[in-house]
C-alpha cells in the first residue's frame, strides 16, 4: 500500500504520468461493468446461440453449423440481404451528394449561414421512428400532402398506394432517409471544409482554379478522411435499417422491402427461433466489422503518407 503511495508521489512530481497505477482502473471500472454485462457477455452468448436450436421455452440443443447452412439456403434471407444491399448502395452515394452540396452552401460562419444550418438540421434530431410515422402519413395517397402536390402539378391521380409496388416503396423510404439524414452528413462535410486552410484555396485561385476545379482537385482529396468516416456511418446505418421499413412499408410489397434487421426480428421475436436469429445477427455483425476495418485500414494508410 505504502509502496504504491510512494510510487504515486514520485511519478507525479517527476511530472510524467500522474497518479497511481490502480487509480485509473477504478475510474474506468463502472463503465466496464456495463460493457461486460451488456456487450461482451451478449457477444459471447450470441456466438454460442448461433450454433444451437434455441427455442423460447425448453432446452436448447447444439446443432453445429445448421443455422448458418439454413441461412445460406434461405430464399427469404437472401431476399432481405439483397434489398438491404440495394438500399445501402442507393442511400450512401445519394447522401454523399446532398450532404456535400448543402455543406458547400452553408460552410460560412455568418449568422445567416448558421440560421440555415439550424433549419436544415432539424429533421436529424427527431427520432427515426417518429419520422417514419410522419412519412407514413405524408405519402398516403388519400390524405398525405406529397401525393396531393403531385396531383396539383398534374402528374396523375396518385390513387395507388406508394408502398404497394416496387421500386416505388423503396424510393419512398429512401426519400425519407435523405430528408432526415442529409444535414447530418452536411455537418460532417462542413467540419472538414472549414478545416482546409484558406491559403490553399487562395493560392489555387491565383493559379486560376475555378469553383468546380477547386472542389475536385483540392477539397475532395483533403476531405478523404471525412468522406471515409461518413461513408462508414451511412453504410453501417443502412445495413441496420429497421424502423423506416417496419413502419413505412411493413415489408410490402410481398416482403420485398424486408431488410436483414427486419427479417432477423421476425425470426427471433415473432417466430421465436432465437438460435437462427443469432446466426443471422452474426452474419450481420461480421458484415459491419468488415466495413469498419476497411475504413480503419484506409485512414491509417492516409496518416502514413
Amino acid at each position: 500500500m505504502s509502496a504504491i503511495k510512494s510510487l504515486t508521489a514520485r511519478s507525479s512530481y517527476a511530472g510524467k504520468k500522474r497518479f497511481s497505477l490502480s487509480g485509473g482502473f477504478l475510474f474506468v471500472l463502472p463503465a466496464m461493468i456495463f460493457v461486460s454485462m451488456f456487450f461482451l457477455w451478449p457477444l459471447y452468448s450470441l456466438i454460442m446461440m448461433s450454433f444451437q436450436d434455441y427455442p423460447l421455452l425448453g432446452d436448447p440443443t447444439w446443432i453445429g453449423l445448421d443455422n448458418y447452412k439454413e441461412a445460406f439456403t434461405d430464399d427469404e434471407f437472401k431476399g432481405s440481404f439483397k434489398i438491404t444491399i440495394i438500399y445501402t448502395l442507393i442511400v450512401t452515394p445519394l447522401l454523399f451528394i446532398t450532404g456535400l452540396g448543402c455543406a458547400l452552401l452553408i460552410k460560412g460562419t455568418s449568422r445567416i449561414s448558421i440560421f440555415f444550418r439550424t433549419i436544415f438540421f432539424i429533421p436529424v434530431v427527431i427520432g427515426f421512428g417518429s419520422a417514419a410515422f410522419l412519412w407514413f402519413w405524408f405519402i398516403n395517397p388519400d390524405t398525405g400532402y406529397l401525393p396531393q402536390i403531385m396531383r396539383d402539378l398534374g402528374l396523375g391521380d396518385m390513387k395507388e398506394s406508394w408502398t404497394a409496388t416496387m421500386p416505388l416503396a423503396l424510393i419512398m423510404v429512401v426519400l425519407m432517409v435523405v430528408w432526415k439524414f442529409t444535414a447530418f452528413q452536411m455537418i460532417g462535410f462542413m467540419t472538414g471544409l472549414q478545416a482546409i486552410p484558406e491559403e490553399i484555396n487562395e493560392s489555387a485561385s491565383l493559379d486560376g482554379a475555378t469553383g468546380m476545379k477547386k472542389l475536385r482537385f483540392i477539397s475532395l482529396p483533403l476531405l478523404r478522411r471525412t468522406i471515409g468516416l461518413l461513408m462508414v456511418l451511412s453504410i453501417s446505418g443502412s445495413l441496420l435499417a429497421f424502423d423506416q421499413f417496419y413502419i413505412i412499408t411493413a415489408g410490402r410489397p410481398e416482403g420485398q422491402t424486408q431488410t436483414i434487421a427486419f427479417y432477423l426480428f421476425r425470426q427471433a421475436f415473432l417466430a421465436f427461433r432465437l438460435g437462427y436469429g443469432a446466426a443471422l445477427s452474426v452474419i450481420l455483425a461480421v458484415l459491419l466489422m468488415i466495413i469498419s476495418l476497411i475504413q480503419i485500414k484506409l485512414s491509417r494508410m492516409d496518416t502514413h503518407e
Partner: protein, 294 residues
C-alpha cells in the same frame, strides 16, 4: 412587387448572394415542409384530417386531436393518456442521461489521464462497440435481460441504452479531459489536493461543455429509440412515446385517424426540436468532438 424587387436588389441582396439566399431558402422550405404539414394536419378536426383530397391549410383549427391523445376515448387505440407514455419516456431518458453522464465522465477521465494495466485492451472493447451496435445483439440481450427478470421493464431498457451510449460519450469525455492542460492538476497536486478533489473542482468545470454534449446525445438516443423498445417492452402500460405511435397507426375498421396520429408525432418530436434549438451549440460541438473528428 416593385418594393420587394427593390429590397432584394439593394444592399447585400445583390449578385451571387441573392442566388445563394434563394437556394438556401428553398432548401430550408423543403426540409421544413413535412414537419409543418404534419403540424397543420394535427390541428385539423378529425374529419377534415382524413378527407380526400386534403386541404393544405386547415379550414378550421382545433386542439381536439391533442385532447384526444391526452384523454383517450374508452375502447380506442390508446389504453392510457399520452401523459402516461410521456412519463415512461422521461424515466428512460432520465435513467439513461444520468447513467451515461456518470459512467462516461469517470471513464473519460480515467482514459485521458492515467496509465494502467489493460488500458488499451479496455479501450479496444469500446472501439469494438462502434463496429457491432446493439441491433446485432438484440437476441442474446433479450435472453440476458430475461435471466434477470428485466424484460418488459424500463430498467432493463435503461441498462441497454446506457451501455450502447458509452462508446460515443466516453470518446467525447476523453477528448474533453485530454484538452485540459495538465499544468492545472500538477499545481493542485503540489498544493496537496487529492485526486478526487482535483477531479471535482478543477477538471469537471472545464469539461462541462463535453458533459452537456454527452447528456444531450444520451437524451436524444433514449427519447427517440424505437427498435429495442419495441422488442424488450411487451405491454401497453410500459410503452415509451415512439412505441405509443404504433398504437395510433393501427386502424379501426380500416380507417386510420390521421389527425390523431400526426398529433402524436408532433407531440413526440417537439421536445427534441426545442431542446436542439436551445442547446444546438453543444450538440454540434459534441458531434464534431465525438465522432467526426475521428
Amino acid at each position: 412587387m416593385n418594393k420587394t424587387k427593390k429590397f432584394f436588389s439593394v444592399g447585400p441582396f445583390t449578385g451571387p448572394f441573392r442566388g445563394w439566399f434563394v437556394i438556401c431558402l428553398s432548401l430550408g422550405a423543403l426540409f421544413m415542409f413535412p414537419l409543418i404539414s404534419a403540424l397543420l394536419t394535427s390541428l385539423k378536426p378529425s374529419r377534415m384530417a382524413s378527407q380526400f383530397p386534403p386541404d393544405y391549410i386547415p379550414k378550421e383549427v382545433t386542439l381536439n386531436n391533442y385532447e384526444r391523445i391526452f384523454v383517450p376515448a374508452k375502447g380506442g387505440f390508446l389504453e392510457y393518456g399520452a401523459w402516461h407514455y410521456t412519463v415512461n419516456s422521461l424515466i428512460l431518458a432520465f435513467g439513461t442521461v444520468v447513467g451515461v453522464s456518470i459512467l462516461a465522465t469517470l471513464a473519460g477521465y480515467g482514459f485521458a489521464r492515467f496509465k494502467f494495466f489493460g488500458k488499451s485492451a479496455l479501450f479496444a472493447f469500446i472501439l469494438l462497440m462502434f463496429m457491432i451496435p446493439f441491433q446485432a445483439l438484440l437476441v442474446p440481450l433479450f435472453r440476458i435481460l430475461a435471466n434477470f427478470g428485466l424484460t418488459n421493464s424500463l430498467l432493463g431498457v435503461i441498462f441497454v441504452y446506457i451501455t450502447y451510449n458509452l462508446p460515443l460519450s466516453v470518446f467525447i469525455m476523453r477528448n474533453s479531459f485530454a484538452e485540459i492542460p495538465s499544468a492545472f492538476e500538477e499545481a493542485a497536486m503540489i498544493d496537496g489536493a487529492s485526486v478526487f478533489r482535483i477531479f471535482r473542482t478543477i477538471m469537471m468545470p472545464l469539461a462541462l461543455p463535453g458533459l452537456i454534449s454527452t447528456a444531450l446525445f444520451a437524451f436524444f438516443a433514449s427519447w427517440n429509440e424505437f427498435f429495442a423498445a419495441t422488442i424488450f417492452i411487451s405491454t401497453n402500460g410500459n410503452y415509451p412515446l415512439p412505441v405509443m405511435l404504433t398504437l395510433l397507426q393501427s386502424s379501426q375498421r380500416g380507417e386510420i385517424d390521421w389527425g390523431l396520429m400526426q398529433a402524436g408525432v408532433i407531440y413526440t418530436i417537439l421536445p427534441c426540436v426545442l431542446i436542439f434549438l436551445v442547446l444546438q451549440k453543444y450538440y454540434i460541438q459534441g458531434l464534431i468532438a465525438g465522432g467526426l473528428k475521428g
